[in-house]
């Protein structure tokens, strides 16, 4: 991590102890407190449309969002249920999607879930605008996953892709309000979460 990022964080031990060499670039935008503390690292990602973006600057800053981690080859059945619920929530949110509310799904298997694979996935689920599927560097995504707490205390379970966290983070960077919601609840429940912020 850059020394500049080290000083910008309120938590000094982080730089000394984080083993991952992630390519989080300094943000060009004024950062919310959560971002300043390192929980919304500005990692580079690529959308399912092939566009290069940075997580905080382009996807989070100033927006109301819901994001989750998933993988295309999801063998525990959790992702399709979650994605389908988000898809229906997308309909409930209607015009607000892509205007002030944005959904993001980030792959936990970036080596296999490449841009063309994500494009197919998006098509098969009939995902509408306002929701981006994202891939990128494995180390970058791992950094984001760990900072956002989508982990398990048991290291074996933590690395097991058949048992990943089926919660979605939702919040508003502008309002500095963040919480999470279970993806296997209902589309109405998901939509309500972001509406009552």
């Amino acid at each position: 991590m850059q020394r500049r990022d080290f000083l910008g964080l309120g938590l000094g031990a982080l730089a000394a102890s984080t083993p991952l060499r992630a390519a989080s670039l300094p943000s060009g935008k004024p950062q919310s407190r959560l971002a300043r503390r390192g929980y919304l690292p500005n990692i580079p990602l690529v959308t399912h449309e092939g566009e290069r973006v940075h997580f905080y600057d382009d996807l989070i800053h100033g927006k109301t969002v819901m994001f989750n981690f998933f993988l295309v080859a999801c063998s525990d059945g959790v992702c399709p249920v979650g994605i389908r619920n988000m898809r229906k929530a997308q309909d409930i949110l209607g015009e607000r999607m892509g205007r002030d509310i944005f959904f993001y799904s980030i792959t936990l298997q970036p080596r296999t879930d490449t841009v063309p694979v994500l494009r197919e996935y998006v098509k098969s689920f009939d995902i509408r605008p306002g929701w981006l599927f994202l891939t990128g560097g494995a180390e970058d995504i791992e950094l984001l996953r760990r900072r956002q707490g989508f982990t398990d205390p048991d290291p074996e379970i933590d690395q097991d892709l058949t048992n990943h966290v089926a919660m979605a983070r939702f919040g508003s960077d502008y309002l500095e309000r963040w919480s999470s919601v279970a993806l296997r609840s209902s589309p109405e429940n998901l939509a309500s979460s972001v509406m009552v912020l």
């Binding site: 309120g10 938590l11 000094g12 031990a13 982080l14 000394a16 102890s17 984080t18 083993p19 919310s32 407190r33 959560l34 503390r37 390192g38 929980y39 525990d76 959790v78 760990r146 900072r147 956002q148 707490g149 989508f150 982990t151 398990d152 205390p153 048992n163 990943h164 966290v165 089926a166 919660m167 983070r169 502008y174 309002l175 500095e176 309000r177 963040w178 919480s179 999470s180 919601v181 279970a182 993806l183 296997r184 609840s185 209902s186 109405e188 429940n189 309500s192 979460s193 009552v196 912020l197």
Partner: protein, 632 residues
């Protein structure tokens, strides 16, 4: 370099050293982190540091206090006298503000979509809540209605404002930061005011939400609140559940009929054996409860009746310690707090486990000192978490290898007077459990010092390890200093076995049994395999029936304090064992250890509507560890 920058740099340097070199006593002394007359204290009191390091200290999402994050090492312990909670005063009903578009206090909500009673706007946003209580508009069930339950118009009125302000946790911290800490506070005080209320005196509270509706300047929290009085026998619309939003710019009217459970069964104001005592009120807004409670949305409430009389002359009822202005009836709201090296409040927004802090606070002050007179006191101990489990000991004198711990005489569990007082060496307390303890300081010479300590070993938010911290590593929370004043004490002594309040009989037959299995799958909490959803149909229970519930911890290393609203329960078995004398009382929080299975007896009486059941590790609560049930 500014003084504050120097302290921050030193804190970060210490952290880096600790991380790199591992933890030996010599290192700690060399780094000047251990005592050594500098006024600075070991910031990592009580943690098993080897255990913490072994697990890896770079989990930023759930930073371990003293390892991943350290509060500024500036606060001198025992500097400030304990803050007594401000006593809430009733007011004349005509003085109560109507807000913007509201009306006078009454049985029916008056409001608009932009002001007045929040219930009006809530029902517009969530029309399915029209079925949450017997009244489509969320009218008060106990006021202005007929029948045994409907005629309890308020005899006292209160008004309270939830505001944002600056709070002084400790002069040294405030001086270090150059300013107080932003907080949300009822009537501007943290904890909020102490309500002292009485059975047979129904009362009304209008809570105005004056929080700023825009960005949360604290960096956490949601200004939509819902205030739950834990664990009053309140009609659902006044229960302050997770779905009852009190919006900024609006108010929510709460009506408390002040009846014991069992009005329908026993008539009058119900069964006095169901009397509640030490309660507390706190936020309960869905998804943001932990953040809002941490921001300051909490306070205490003491409930009295003929037996637990709250009598300043200490001459009636059980003659428990009270005194003029309740001097000897003391609420102690305990929670641990975390600050970042710059002294700004830290809340782990991306942690699913739970939140721990390295700064113990009591009644809104870090490491307070309480001066006591040489007579009996009643302490109402409340563990406000957010996630820390406590193991209370009262140590006489400084830490040593063989200290004296004063045996504790407990008179109430979760606010309910025990059938007989119980004496213990110590007691465990999960978040939201309360214990009322009577301590007689007349036995101590003036100048004696005691310490309220916590010896529960806990290294992460999931739960305690079950081990006791060694004597010298006990976490000191409050220091008590015995003065030389020996005022008159008209209260009666509390001795082991002293009869207090008879238990209600549990002869009513069980209509149904129900299993509630709490599980974690894919990082989500589920109850009986179901994910919490605000729109789900609640579990329905006919009014007046009794059920046996089995509460099961589905596994993993998590401990959960499970809490059921509205009625107290009786513990039948804990992992097949009969309850201890302390836990054979009525309770409203079940301390569910890993893999535990608890059977309880519970009745569902009087008012109808929805109520939640949830884990009171409030971070779990915010990750949907909850279920709704409904009395029909």
């Amino acid at each position: 370099m500014k003084q504050s920058d120097r302290i921050i740099k030193r804190t970060i340097d210490i952290q880096r050293e600790l991380t790199r070199e591992g933890l030996t006593r010599r290192n700690l002394l060399r780094l000047g982190v251990l005592g050594a007359g500098s006024g600075m204290l070991l910031p990592i009191q009580g943690l098993s540091m080897r255990a913490a390091f072994a697990k890896g200290s770079d989990e930023l999402s759930c930073p371990v206090p003293g390892v991943g994050i350290i509060s500024p090492q500036v606060c001198v312990p025992w500097k400030h006298e304990l803050r007594r909670l401000v006593e809430k005063q009733p007011i004349d009903v005509d003085k109560i503000s109507w807000g913007n578009g509201g009306g006078a206090p009454g049985p029916d909500p008056i409001g608009t979509l932009t002001g007045g009673d929040s219930k009006v706007r809530l029902l517009k946003d969530f029309s399915h809540l029209k079925n949450a209580t017997p009244y489509e508009n969320l009218s008060h069930q106990g006021w202005g209605k007929g029948g045994a339950l409907g005629g309890f118009a308020p005899k006292k009125y209160y008004e309270m404002r939830m505001v944002q302000g600056k709070w002084n946790w400790h002069d040294d911290l405030t001086h270090f930061r150059g300013d107080g800490n932003l907080a949300w506070a009822f009537d501007g005080v943290f904890p909020g005011p102490m309500f002292r209320v009485r059975y047979g005196e129904p009362y009304f509270v209008r809570i105005h939400n004056d929080l700023p509706p825009g960005p949360s300047q604290l960096g956490f929290g949601n200004p939509i609140i819902s205030t739950h009085l834990h664990n009053m026998h309140s009609p659902s619309e006044s229960d302050g559940g997770p779905l009852y939003y009190n919006y900024p710019g609006h108010y929510w009217d709460y009506h408390y009929p002040m009846v014991y459970a069992g009005v329908n069964q026993y008539g009058g104001i119900g069964d006095p054996r169901e009397a509640l005592g030490t309660l507390f009120y706190h936020d309960h807004k869905l998804d943001f409860t932990s953040q809002n409670v941490y921001a300051g949305v909490l306070g205490m409430c003491s409930v009295y009746d003929d037996l637990d009389s709250g009598d300043p002359t200490e001459s009636t009822g059980l003659r428990l310690p009270c005194g003029e202005d309740f001097e000897y009836d003391v609420g102690l709201a305990i929670h641990d707090r975390q600050f970042d090296p710059e002294g700004t409040d830290f809340f782990p927004l991306t942690c699913f486990d739970g939140a721990l802090g390295d700064m113990p606070t009591v009644n809104g002050t870090i490491w307070p000192r309480m001066t006591v007179k040489r007579r009996r006191y009643r302490f109402r101990l409340l563990n406000m978490g957010p996630s820390r489990f406590l193991w209370y000991f009262l140590r006489v004198g400084d830490a040593s290898d063989n200290p004296t711990y004063l045996p504790l005489d407990i008179i109430a569990n979760d606010g309910n007077l025990l059938p007989r007082a119980v004496r213990v060496q110590s007691m465990k307390s999960a978040v939201a459990e309360r214990f009322d303890v009577v301590v007689d300081f007349s036995q101590f010479a003036p100048g004696t010092e005691l310490y309220l300590v916590n010896r529960a070993e806990q290294t992460n938010g999931r739960g305690p390890t079950g081990a006791l911290l060694p004597h010298r590593q006990a976490i000191e929370m409050m220091k008590i200093v015995v003065s030389d004043e020996m005022p008159a004490d008209n209260s009666l002594p509390v001795y082991p076995g002293r009869p207090l309040r008879a238990l209600p009989d549990t002869s009513q037959a069980i209509s149904r049994t129900k299993l509630w299995r709490w599980d974690r799958a894919n990082g989500e909490w589920a109850v009986n395999g179901e994910i919490f959803d605000r729109f789900s149909k609640p579990y329905e229970i006919p009014e007046g029936t009794a059920e046996k519930w089995t509460i099961m911890n589905g596994g993993g290393s998590w401990s959960h304090p499970v809490h059921i609203h509205y009625e107290e329960h009786r513990q039948l078995t804990y992992n097949g064992q009969r309850p201890t004398p302390l836990e054979a009382s009525r309770k409203d929080v079940i301390r569910l250890d890993p893999n535990a299975e608890v059977n309880i007896y519970m009745r569902f009486r009087d008012y109808k509507g929805i109520y939640p059941m949830h884990c009171h590790n409030v971070l779990h609560e915010d990750h949907a560890m909850m279920a709704m049930w409904k009395i029909v």
